[in-house]
Amino acid sequence: MATTVSIADFRKDMRKVLETALTGREIICENTKSRDREKCSFIKTKLFQEILKAYIFMPKIFYDKETNTHNIHLDELNLYAYADTLPEAVEQILDLAVDYTKDYIERLELFLNVPDRKEQYPYILRLSHCASREEIKQTLLGNTYGNV
């Protein structure tokens, strides 16, 4: 079972709560005084990143003979790129993913209220935890790109 603490207890002993969270235990902080009893989870970041790895990107990469373009579909984020060469298409899909992630985080309230966009949130979180463009590329394309 998850450990629940009130905001009052959290304030009283924040250090202990954080130390417990760092052991890997999820701490749920509850505002018992609010009408809707909103809750907030504290979890070790490294562990959270491990959990997010369950959200795998499955890009579709193909060549379109009619337009002579290389296409990449990132269905998890509804992003699509097409270019004359595969490396160009890869750079485009990276640009689109980086820009969309930024936009999504900036306008989180909007996207979390649109059902099909809300589903994208774990994928957005996964990308937002990437430290570099190279890591984003690896997260999005993994070994797929090398097999094309």
Binding site: E66, T67, A83
Partner: protein, 80 residues
């Protein structure tokens, strides 16, 4: 069906009441459609003006809320 010219795609976005803005390396078409649903389609700036390839066009049509490419073109011809 096939490819779609960039011009037609943009015309339909306008017909749907979506607005365009540039955000980083992408042109973003977004807004609320007639059914009250939020719609968003983005294109890389380097893809602007180029015909949209078949499979990719099919995906974008769905993102705009059309059931199929046929629906997309029906809407275009009816409203142009």
């Amino acid at each position: 069906m096939g490819t779609c010219s960039f011009k037609i795609f943009i015309k339909v976005c306008k017909m749907l009441g979506l607005t365009q803005r540039k955000a980083g390396n992408r042109f973003l078409w977004e807004g609320i459609d007639r059914k009250g649903n939020y719609r968003q389609v983005s294109l890389h700036v380097h893809a602007e003006g180029r015909d949209i390839p078949n499979g990719t066009f099919n995906k974008m049509v769905k993102d705009l809320g059309f059931a199929s490419e046929e629906d997309f073109f029906y809407f275009y011809h009816k409203n142009k």
